[in-house]
């Protein structure tokens, strides 16, 4: 029997770049196939070829053995290929069933009227057949991200997809939602659908796929069955060398208070309170992790700390100095480094080259500027040094920021901010979109900063990252810390519960820590700092064990 999808010797060239080089890929009907690789390995390009967005320079796409020639995604959809993009293409104010049929509505009156009843009926029938628990009449804006993803899948199924391509499907989900997604995979494959999903997370590929193909530099370095491969082997295939799976933290005494946040409340752009009465403190030589599903106030919290947003009430002190009324400029000058969440909006000026981007934030300061004049030579040297140290590709200081891939943009921002010689680093998703090899390097750099006595506030939706690096881990939900826990002893399920806004059972050890943390918030600063310190020492003792308990961690990504 022919494989459902057979990519036969696909080569895709862009001017100056070979994105896919003679890639062979065969996927059996009714199986889940993971396409694993680092950023820029050519995964998305390959799938765009299959989905008809790109025409291959060379090679053939075969479905059930039939050679296909797609001019556009429309052709691919007609041939039964559906793609679910990382960013959902849904219309927020419309209902689930309206979104599913959008563009392919059943009509009556000779095409003049949408047959709403038939459309809704078809959607209900479809979601029942695959066991999807989605209310067809709910508005997209009102349902969870996981449900929205199922609506996207329904959309593809409604258009007759037999092969579903999913681009980084777990990137936006909570751990629980990820589990549910795996359930959906099973349901779909049981009914003969074929799933190919793109990922750069090992754990995810191992737990969800039947077979894994690893792409590196546009070449398929191997297709393996999930049952006979280990994490380490996969990582080696992806990177091309041995990878240390976890950062090694060493115990360390925390130093002076660098950041004190007291009763901080911050509104979002719509004037709705996004951070509510939050208090914590951060000491030199300490990494505090903030975990949580995106959009629970993390953005507003870091913006209030770094001077991009005015808090509605409360107090931020930096090295003992009140920050109220201090501008962003003042805070940069006092040694705050900030890796923003939105690198393309904030972190980089997309139309500037890397030389110009290297001085963003330092454009008034020596050695880059003297008496108001910018020294472009110094900024070029700086750009080149960041590029070299942080392995930014292409290594060209004249390349415009927008020509870099997301992972390389990120590396450049992180490099620029780390090299600022800061006292406080506020890092939001510092390794988002960055490949394993570079992630490892950035983690090491974060730990270097910690051992140099810098304070780090690490906001990330990657649980393994915040758990592996932090001295203390706060979980944020709807603008509040639902818990401040010891990252070494807390379990993934517990973090998942906290992320969902539930409190932990008081009987457990972690629960006790949480209880303590919660009472600290009420109790005031002194007790809070003591509690934090003891907690931390315990954390470090247990921290050694973390290396052994890696399996599965990385797959979880909120």
């Amino acid at each position: 029997m022919n494989p459902a999808v057979h990519l036969d010797g696909i080569t895709k060239r862009f001017p100056g770049v070979v994105a896919n080089d003679d890639v062979d890929l065969a996927v059996e009907r009714g199986s889940v196939h993971a396409l694993l690789g680092e950023n820029g390995a050519g995964k998305t390009t390959l799938m765009n070829v299959l989905y008809g967005l790109y025409r291959p320079t060379d090679g053939t796409v075969r479905l059930d053995g039939e050679p296909q020639s797609f001019d556009s995604p429309r052709d691919a959809i007609d041939a039964g290929v559906g793609m679910i993009h990382q960013h959902f293409m849904l219309v927020d104010p419309m209902t689930v069933w309206e979104n599913v049929v959008l563009g392919n509505e059943p009509t009556t009156w000779g095409g003049l009227r949408v047959d709403r009843e038939a459309a809704r009926e078809a959607v209900v029938e479809l979601s029942e057949r695959y066991g999807f628990d989605v209310d067809p009449d709910a508005t997209i804006a009102d349902i969870s991200v996981g449900e929205q993803q199922r609506v996207e899948i329904l959309k593809a199924l409604y258009r007759g997809a037999d092969v579903l391509i999913m681009d980084e499907p777990t990137a936006v989900l909570t751990p629980q939602e990820v589990e549910e997604l795996y359930g959906v995979f099973e349901e779909l494959t049981d009914q003969g659908k074929t799933i190919i999903f793109i990922s750069h997370k090992l754990g995810e590929a191992l737990s969800a796929a039947d077979e894994i193909s690893v792409l590196r530099d546009g070449v398929n370095v191997g297709t393996v069955a999930t049952s006979d491969v280990t994490r380490e082997e996969l990582a080696k295939m992806m990177v091309g060398r041995e990878v240390l799976m976890d950062p090694a933290t060493t115990p360390q005494e925390a130093g002076d208070r660098v950041l004190e946040v007291t009763d901080l409340s911050v509104d979002d752009d719509r004037g709705v309170e996004a951070v509510s009465d939050l208090s914590f403190e951060l000491r030199a030589g300490e990494i505090m992790g903030v975990a949580g599903v995106d959009g629970n106030g993390q953005l507003q919290l870091v913006e209030a700390i770094t001077g991009l947003r005015r808090p509605s009430s409360g107090d931020v002190r930096y090295r003992g100095e009140p920050m109220a009324g201090k501008t962003r400029r003042d805070r940069i000058d006092r040694g705050m480094a900030f890796i923003p969440e939105d690198r393309q909006e904030r972190g980089l000026v997309m139309s500037y080259d890397l030389t110009e981007n290297a001085i963003l934030g330092s454009q008034h300061d020596p050695p880059f500027a003297e008496r108001g004049r910018i020294d472009w030579r110094a900024s070029r040297d700086h750009a080149e040094s960041v590029i070299e140290q942080y392995d930014v590709r292409p290594p060209d200081a004249d390349a415009e920021a927008e020509s870099l891939s997301g992972g390389n943009q990120q590396k450049f921002i992180v490099g620029r901010e780390f090299e600022r010689d800061p006292d406080l680093v506020v890092a939001t998703h510092p390794t988002r979109g960055v490949d394993i090899g570079s992630t490892e390097f950035l983690h090491d750099r974060l730990l270097d900063l910690r051992s140099q006595g810098k304070a780090v506030l690490l906001v990330s939706s990657k649980l393994d990252e915040v758990q592996g690096l932090s001295d203390r881990l706060a979980v944020m939900h709807e603008g509040e810390f639902t818990g401040v826990v010891d990252p070494a002893t807390v379990t993934e399920e517990e973090i998942g519960l906290l992320m969902a806004g539930e409190s932990l059972d008081d009987d457990s050890v972690e629960g006790a820590a949480l209880h303590e943390a919660a009472s600290e918030e009420v109790g005031g600063e002194e007790t809070a700092s003591e509690g934090a310190a003891t907690e931390e020492v315990e954390g470090e003792k247990a921290g050694e064990g973390i290396d052994d308990t890696t399996a599965g961690d990385e797959g979880v990504d909120a």
């Binding site: 770049v17 050519g42 998305t44 001019d71 962003r328 400029r329 909006e345 590709r393 390349a399 988002r432």
Partner: protein, 434 residues
């Protein structure tokens, strides 16, 4: 810091030349030439058609073979437009390429350069605001205010100084400073309104144009009007306080020194935008406000600064208009500020591009006057031809599209007719990310 690579640095010469041979600048020049040629082709047809519609006793041009007569000769129109604007350097119809009696210092070329000079200032004014992401429609008003301030300050100070060359230099400096300050103030108002009251600068600058024009009119009408003048105008500033025509005929209203000052300002503004910290703040606010804010740029301050600078340049344009062209403030101020918007857009809001763009406008203006002198073609038709040229030059994207489609310039975008989206070349292998 990594060890520096001495060979990797461009030489001083290369750095000086770089802004002119930049790929995008070269591309823009090619596009501009193509645009002018295409607009001429279409203008030809329009001239012919209107030449058929118009009535005249003798045909200016007869079409070969058909014997159809046309009132206007399109070749003549364009020859006079471009050749005339320069004072007929090219010997069209006569033997030889160049006209032996031609010197650059003629009346027509003087008129062309006079317009060019004024538009350099207004073009820079609009460009600097644009670079900060602000749409300053108010250069006209800033020019009116600056011009009035110049005329009044020179008239006020002149009696205090003994007439002579030195007093002239002092008065010009005082007048220009007054024009820049007044224009800068007039620009700062919409800047502050935008920064602190969230008022859209397009609306406020347009409104302030009316305020400027009418307040200035009433002030001059009621207070500063020259005795016995039939028009609403101030007294003339003393002869010695005006820019000397120097080499060009007096009647051309052009002073080479003013053009040189304009060119110096172009260079200064280029340096400011590209090589200073404040310039970096300004253009970063313009291209990506959120990133500028992240980089510690005070958005409100930058807005006010950019509008003040823009207004000051517009006000300087007014000073030049008074001290070079008119010799006094008068109520019929030409639309230099509005033309400055087009000049700036043609220049891609690049200070250096303002020079050729202002010159093109100058040529079209000078040429139009020549056509009026030399031919029967109505001025309205000339305005249409001017408009066509500007229209085509102002839509470079259209020509880029043609270039891509025909494969002229730029890498061929794969197989023609595929739905392949435009890929940015470089490291991004189509990888998407969060």
């Amino acid at each position: 810091m990594s060890e520096s690579d001495a060979d990797g640095r461009p030489s001083v010469v290369a750095r000086l030349v770089a802004p002119f041979v930049d790929r995008s600048v070269a591309e823009r020049l090619v596009i501009s030439v193509a645009a002018i040629l295409l607009s001429i082709v279409i203008g030809f047809a329009i001239v012919l058609v209107s030449g058929r519609i118009a009535e005249c006793t003798t045909a200016a041009w007869t079409m070969p073979l058909t014997g159809l007569g046309f009132c206007y000769d399109p070749v003549e129109v364009y020859v006079v437009l471009f050749n005339g604007a320069l004072g007929y350097p090219f010997a069209v119809g006569d033997p030889g390429l160049l006209n032996p009696e031609w010197t650059p210092f003629n009346l027509s070329f003087g008129l062309t350069l006079s317009e060019t000079t004024l538009l350099i200032f207004t073009g820079l004014s609009v460009a600097v605001a644009f670079r900060a992401g602000l749409f300053n429609i108010g250069t006209q008003g800033q020019l009116v205010v600056g011009a009035l301030a110049t005329a009044l300050s020179v008239l006020a100070v002149a009696p205090l100084l003994p007439a002579g060359r030195i007093a002239g230099v002092v008065l010009v400096v005082i007048g220009a400073a007054a024009g820049a300050v007044a224009g800068g103030f007039w620009g700062a108002i919409p800047g502050a309104l935008k920064a602190y009251a969230d008022a859209n600068e397009v609306i406020t600058t347009i409104m302030l144009n009316f305020v400027a024009a009418n307040v200035a009119y009433v002030l001059v009408l009621e207070v500063f009007r020259a005795e016995g003048s039939s028009v609403v105008a101030t007294r003339y500033v003393p002869e010695y306080a005006q820019f000397l025509p120097w080499l060009f005929p007096q009647s051309s209203d052009f002073a080479l020194i003013a053009l040189l000052v304009g060119v110096v300002f172009i260079g200064a503004l280029y340096y400011f935008v590209e090589h200073t910290s404040l310039g970096y703040d300004l253009r970063t606010s313009g291209v990506q406000a959120a990133a500028a804010e992240y980089g510690g740029v005070n958005a409100k301050q930058t807005t006010v600064r950019a509008m003040t600078l823009s207004g000051a340049l517009g006000g300087l344009g007014g000073s030049v208009w008074v001290l070079m062209s008119e010799g006094r403030w008068m109520a019929s101020v030409p639309d230099l500020g509005f033309d400055g918007i087009t000049v700036s857009i043609l220049a891609g809001n690049n200070p250096i591009g303002v020079l050729p763009a202002a010159f093109l406008f100058g040529v079209l203006k000078g040429g139009a006057l020549e056509i009026g002198f030399r031919t029967d073609v109505p001025t309205e038709l000339v305005a249409v031809l001017r408009g066509l040229i500007i229209l085509f030059v102002a839509m470079p994207e259209f020509f880029r599209m043609i270039g891509r489609y025909t494969g002229v310039g730029g890498p061929p975008g794969g197989v023609p007719g595929t739905t392949e989206p435009d890929e940015t070349a470089g490291g991004d292998r189509g990888e998407t990310d969060a």
